[in-house]
Amino acid sequence: MSRPRDQLQGVTLQGGWVVRQIIPRAQTDTGSNFSTGYIVESATGKQHFLKAIDFSDALRAADPARALQTLTEAFNLERDVLEISKTLSCVVTAVEDGSTVIGAGPTANAVQYLIFELADTSLRRLAIGPQSLPMSTALVALRRVATGLRQLHQEQVAHQDSKPSNVLKFEQEQFKIADVGRASVKGRASPHDHLSIAGDPLYSPPELLYGQLDPEFNVRRLGCDAYMLGGLATFLIMHSSMTALIVKELHATAQPSNWRGTYAQVLPQVRQAFDRVLVQMDQFMPSSAPYRAELLRCVAELCDPDPSLRGHPMTRAVQSSGGNIYDLERYIAIFDRLAMQAKIAEGRSRKP
């Protein structure tokens, strides 16, 4: 029997939203395993994305009370973060937060939903697709993500899952960072606090993969965001995650699935692997690209395997006395400048 959240097709929701079609999971770029995606239409006919959630999975769990609590907390945290981010220009925010009831009588079930702007596509699809993504566009996306992350950081929120599929493209090359379902708010408990990796392990910083969980919010959470921003740049060049590229370069005994020691002990090997990845990246970028050296330096700084050395060196120097060493402001400026340079270079190369 299908879950209540899977039965919204054709339903008209509060505010006149009509649920048009379910989106198969493979076609959605964001979202958790406990939600279903739909295309919905507003009263004006504009299409949006709806994320529906119910608690039926929790009720089938071995410990329903605990599962229900976890699910509820996660959903509420996401809603709260969305509320915090509703004025942020580079973060996908909800345009509607509501609920509906599916069925009637004793079989009635509540389904909660969030409605978002509908994106054209994600950075993942743009990068790995038949059409190559112009580097100027890729750099615009990086600037927008850096801005979005910084906006969240200023609100004491760490995103922790800024992977390529969570960077969405809207009309007129407007990139925004989506899915705050794995975010943490400083000073507030999150249902995923017990997980060493809040987001997707494929894009996770290496220290988390090896179980080094710094008690400092900034180091563990904002450091993760900084790494993932550098990881996005890596993905745009290499079409792979920085983490996978590093692990690929490690000997089997040092890979996270086999390692049995501390992160400090494996760090020299991780760093050597990381340096090899940087060399490969350098080779994969066009030698004439104006952004090549600076982008590579950004990746080297943002993805440094040692979280205490991550981020812009100038920012680290200025903020060393307790500030946010992962402040992304300088990278926003750098990506902006590099995007311009790339645009100019692309224009030149198109001229006959």
């Binding site: 697709g129 179980g211 060049i237 690929k248 086999n258 049995r260 002990q265 020299p268």
Partner: protein, 508 residues
Amino acid sequence: MSVLQPDADRRLLPRWQSTATAIEAGELASPKTTPLEPIDDQHFQARKREWEAARSLDLAAELVGSGIVLGRMREVEAAARQILDPHSDASPSLREMAAVALETQPRAARQAPAQRRGQIDRPLVYQSISRLRHSLHRHPRNILGWVDLGRLYGILGQITQAERALSNALALGPNDRFTLRCAARFYVHIDDPEKGLALLQRARATKQDPWLMAAEIAVSQVSRRPSKSLTMASKSLGNAAWSLRSQSELKGSVATSFLYDGSLAKARRLFHESLVDPTENVVAQAQWASSRTSGLVIPSLALEVPHNFEANALRARAMGHWTHVLEDCWNWADYEPTSSRPMTLGSYIAAVVFGDADATLEFARRGVLAEPKNSMIRNNEVVALALLGRLEEAWSTFRDIAFDRETAPNQAVLLATMGLLLFRSGDVDEGREQYERALAQTSLRGERYLKALALWHLAQEEIVADTGEVTRALARAEDASKSIHDPELQMLGDRVRKLPRARRHGHD
């Protein structure tokens, strides 16, 4: 002439290996047996389902990446094949990633060899140095890169540069196991074991790491200082939290300590335990120890450990397979180009057993390159040059050896070598005088083997110079060798006895 018998002593010092080789040998692996908390595979499973449903290239790419990160490459082979399909739009970098996923062995431990078999390819080493320096200029925090750079300089005998590179590594990773072990080995190499010991004893990591404890014990033995790890190490042996491989050198080091203290039964027991999952260094140590205590048998499985060249050379020597000794010494030198030990053994066997001056010189020259300040390898070079009649070179090299700074046995060897040089230079009386001084030193210290060795060499010189002292010299050598059952001495004796004697003196 004389050459000092090699490997009278052996401590389980860390090898000064390239990072790639050390990683392969498990020297950089975690000592612990308890696995980390498994990484949540919820994303992996979801991704797999998504890819199976849609089979799009972007999902295939992420699934392959996840398989690599989580060590589940078998489960992503189909996705990797999709990427590698000639008709797919995958980029070259993505194809490379997919190709790695389809291999069972991850890509690591790739390093161009620093030398060709039997000789150091200096241009190749310089090339490797240049590449590494360039890389370190861009990525100066690469500790292992600095260690590798230090080793490359070490191969060329450029000690100052080697020390500088290792200092950089130590500054970045004062508790890094591999760096500490290589640095300690380096300081033993340059005859400053106290400095190596101080490094190990200062490092916090030494208290918890069996590999570092093993190194500390070995270096303390070399520097004749008390080990700070020995007591703790003895208590920690058999710690189930440590893998057998990581305990191998520790057990071998403690066993060596027992061996030197005369606790042979304890030494044998620990050597046996050290050989359950050994490094090649431990196998070599046990092989060396087996000639000093009965009942220590090396299991055949242990002899199959990769890069087992030293153990093979020692084993071949014990069995009298002399050609194999030379062969394995070359392999060993290729494997450990910073050490003069393979060359010391090789030149010794070439000189004593074969009387092959060319081979002796070849081994000695390579040894000098590795350790220019090692007087005994220099001595062997002098011996080879003298036997080849290149007396000017021989004297010049001999004069560079600081006789006064040498130990008494080394001085005895050097005196005998001076005797050889004088004999070959035509000054028989003075040559004989120097041999007698060498013999007096050996008698004083009760070094019977060295005395017999010097006497056979004296007899050889008396024969070559065709003096009237041949019969007496041979008789003295035979007499000194009577109670020594040593196959190398026997080979030397056989060879000297068979030397053609040109003419006979009246009283001979």
